[in-house]
Assembly symmetry: D2
Homo-oligomer: 333 residues x 4
Amino acid sequence: MKVGVIGLGYWGPNLLRNFLSTDGVDRVSAADLNAQRLKVAAKKLPAANYTSHYAELLKSPEIDAVAIATPVSTHFKLAKEALENGKHVLLEKPMTASVAEAEDLISLADRKQLTLMVDHTFIYTGAVRKIQDLISSGELGDVHYFDSVRVNLGLFQHDVNVIWDLATHDLAIMDYLVAARPVSVAAFGVAHYNHVEDVAYVIVNFNNGTIAHFHVNWIAPVKIRQILIGGSKKMVVYDDLEPSEKVKIYDKGVNIKSKEGIYEALIQYRTGDMYSPKLDGTEALSQLTSHFVECIRDSKTPITDGKSGLNVVRILEAAQQSITHNGELITID
Amino acid sequence: MKVGVIGLGYWGPNLLRNFLSTDGVDRVSAADLNAQRLKVAAKKLPAANYTSHYAELLKSPEIDAVAIATPVSTHFKLAKEALENGKHVLLEKPMTASVAEAEDLISLADRKQLTLMVDHTFIYTGAVRKIQDLISSGELGDVHYFDSVRVNLGLFQHDVNVIWDLATHDLAIMDYLVAARPVSVAAFGVAHYNHVEDVAYVIVNFNNGTIAHFHVNWIAPVKIRQILIGGSKKMVVYDDLEPSEKVKIYDKGVNIKSKEGIYEALIQYRTGDMYSPKLDGTEALSQLTSHFVECIRDSKTPITDGKSGLNVVRILEAAQQSITHNGELITID
Amino acid sequence: MKVGVIGLGYWGPNLLRNFLSTDGVDRVSAADLNAQRLKVAAKKLPAANYTSHYAELLKSPEIDAVAIATPVSTHFKLAKEALENGKHVLLEKPMTASVAEAEDLISLADRKQLTLMVDHTFIYTGAVRKIQDLISSGELGDVHYFDSVRVNLGLFQHDVNVIWDLATHDLAIMDYLVAARPVSVAAFGVAHYNHVEDVAYVIVNFNNGTIAHFHVNWIAPVKIRQILIGGSKKMVVYDDLEPSEKVKIYDKGVNIKSKEGIYEALIQYRTGDMYSPKLDGTEALSQLTSHFVECIRDSKTPITDGKSGLNVVRILEAAQQSITHNGELITID
Amino acid sequence: MKVGVIGLGYWGPNLLRNFLSTDGVDRVSAADLNAQRLKVAAKKLPAANYTSHYAELLKSPEIDAVAIATPVSTHFKLAKEALENGKHVLLEKPMTASVAEAEDLISLADRKQLTLMVDHTFIYTGAVRKIQDLISSGELGDVHYFDSVRVNLGLFQHDVNVIWDLATHDLAIMDYLVAARPVSVAAFGVAHYNHVEDVAYVIVNFNNGTIAHFHVNWIAPVKIRQILIGGSKKMVVYDDLEPSEKVKIYDKGVNIKSKEGIYEALIQYRTGDMYSPKLDGTEALSQLTSHFVECIRDSKTPITDGKSGLNVVRILEAAQQSITHNGELITID
């Protein structure tokens, strides 16, 4: 299989490096409009081919699949052309700039019977996979809430706000972990330095009463990457900055006894052991590129397929709309 | 001065203990309807007088001032009676169950020329006083955001939800620290175990663009007490669980250069030293009871007067209304 | 049973408070030479009887047992008199100022068939009891090392150095947890401000190769209370300052394969889950006073009997001797 | 200038990478006996020349300086040959396997007027440089103690024990920071899995009463990299695992008032602010390679010259001797 990587900005070189060492990938080509970036990449990763004409990668019959790591505003156009030329596509997150674009790509890929995958990298970490195991095995019970904080100083983006930049990660994790269906979104944010929000909060309500919340911030004094998940049986703290104990599972909860004939229920707390499972330490992106190649080869549906990309974009779009309308609750179909 | 404490539940005994050692207080009486509570208190604090008839304290010409630490639904009735009988009043937080009640008490105290104070304890901690110094001296610059997280497992209240219980603390701190005027409130919450919300998020928008946010949760696996304050010059992390370095001030920020004739502004990050100031370690409640006595004696306006109590109740009421209306943005006059 | 507490300095009032609520204790009397201390205690704990004549407690036929919480230099004299008068004795740590004194008290108590117990409070914490369970059940395997750090700023003692003050706690824990027999001790320390060492390090070697180490320091910028225990199967971190996860058990270790005919062994690391067990949160001192009363009543040997007190004093004495001789290794019989 | 790097094991490739981007270095060659290592390095760093014959680098008139990153037992032989061939030498830490070897190299370099430098990398970190500033400016006052903990699980070395492996880093830092002269060393250690110690403690006494202590451990459940430095005016905590606040300076101390005619001195604690200075984040090794090149060019004495290397080896040798003699205090000339 021959893979082309388009875009060598912040993330593209990581995709390139991983494709270069993915089993089943024979040759990797990379394109960027910027000569300097090509030069730097060529020095670090001399095994790839380089070009400043990305169109070559989209058209060349030599290329089986392309990974697109360009600004989000260009995703749709590039992915569409790639699919039309019969190439499998891996899209950098967020998948597209709108729900409509995402839906178009999904149906195009469907029609062409091509693999369309989104680079929701965190889904391929040992931490998130482990939490998914806990939820799907029923160990956590029902998910009561999903609360995420992703804050630090910088890096400002010029074209998208802090929600599109940072919350995308956590929305992808939420989409993977929470089985219920999101029904409405509200978002609040302020732009202090530029025309895009640098501090924001997003609420997602689910059909079963689960609530999710996202705090994203580019102007925070400290770096925080923390997700709390409250289950009816156990609770999880996922701190991505912890070097070795990223996931902690607390055997804590609330027992409730309805007292017949009495108005108030009797609430009791339950506190047991905490444990922090050993996690698979393989680089997430290397799992992801292998999975992409495997899905193409075996015609399997990727874990982070177009549908997951769409789910995330749908909430981003609703959040954007809510911010524009002063936090109005936006219903999701 | 002679002080009466009404209500010996969770907080009342702390007020009692502090009044017993406050300069200028000659005698302290305490009332509770519950005989067991009176017995326990009398054993621990034998220096006070005890009664099961709180009305005695409200009426007795021997009593100059009362501290009311009963459930919030009774605050208005008791405080009103006390003021009408010419007694100065210290009210446990939140001040009242509604804005109307708080306004009534304020004008009554005004008319009677009596001191009306609210027990916003945190305002009297060394940590919050120090942050106030930093803000009022201009060291932080303009406050861009105020973000608070107060979560833990328990203790459920039966009569009020998690916002009235936990966010009250942080709203009082916000009211004290943020000089701007709140203009609107939105809140979201879910009740998983009872008829009151146990997880909630509150947004407060200010007239100058400052945004405040509150995450409160009774069913969290870990205890977090953290406030982030982003200033235009410096930023603060206030972690109340840190044993010795509760307040950290970060010399971090964003410099922006407008480039004439060019669309995008140039954003640069600034990172300097962090420092953690030594804090006054005196018990906050002892500062508060002394301040109450001093305000009565010198006819001074308390730092946490009826007005601050009202400010907090106004946001609580708006938050309640917003939750009832699915997160609708509630305007504050 | 009637109990007398002698000495109301730092620790005595805690013993007093606990004996007042211990089942089986009918009356508690307390003595101190200092009138101010008596006054303060009488105000806080009015249920006890107070006297400035400690001899009364040692002699009175009304008293069944005494708890001695005076400076260590007086322990022997007071305990001896109490035992001779037929009273059971609880001695504050360290048990005595010398091995000879400890041995004397043990044989006297033996002869008189009286209970002699030492207040090694930490042995009665949920944390240390849990670690003991792990060791005695074989879950940790053989103990390879026991490493303790107990440092902070202050409080200087005038009569004893930092080893007698702080390391006593950790030596008692070690004595309880490590089954092997200590064979030699070395100690190093420096006195920066006074005639007693304020920074010190103690090494204890055991008959089976286990090594124990103690870092104690009165002039440290931060407070640390951390014990690492390396077992052949699992390892423990016990951090007494952690509010809720004081004990963490790591499924980590080293697997070694001897390669026949090859000089070097093959070493492999094993890393699994970590867990933090729920601990019994009962106040240790309350467990201890109950245990004391129970041992007297049922003629049982206390967990922290005279022998454990002696074990600790033996190492303290050897450490002192080592410091005097520039760290010379002192053999323990 | 042309530089040769000998040894491409764990550390050599880092030296190689940094020399490749050091100003003033025209060409870098590298040698290793292992073909696989050469292959891996050549793939990652194609800009260097590679050979399996290290002797070429030691002899070639084309090479001006060599960096030796081979096992410590070979340092002396290789460095000697390099110096004899007129090449400047950078030696990996520890400098040599014995004091005698280090002294030989120093006098040889002296005679040949060649630069002899030791790769004590930590000395070139922003953290250690900042602490040095604090000490040399007098801000900390006199250094009372230097306490270091460097523990983790693995990596066992086969040829040297945990002191030679891990304590070398901290001894180099101590040598750089503590101005006083070490006068004696004691060390204790146990070998649990192999013929070399995997847990060890080292004490260093100084001529002015300063005490230094080192805890090194290959079989610890957690990773700790912490140095406490107690000064008479301020105290430092240097935690190398902290992502952004590695150095914290505490305005804490002890004030002592001699009370005339009274036996005991009056001790008071002083506690003020803490601050964490911004540190230079440049990669230490890049600073080091630049410094090496600069010292050669300008005939300057390196910060970490042969003498500092010798100082460290002298303590390592004494520690080894002490361990062999059961912790005997070894005097240093």
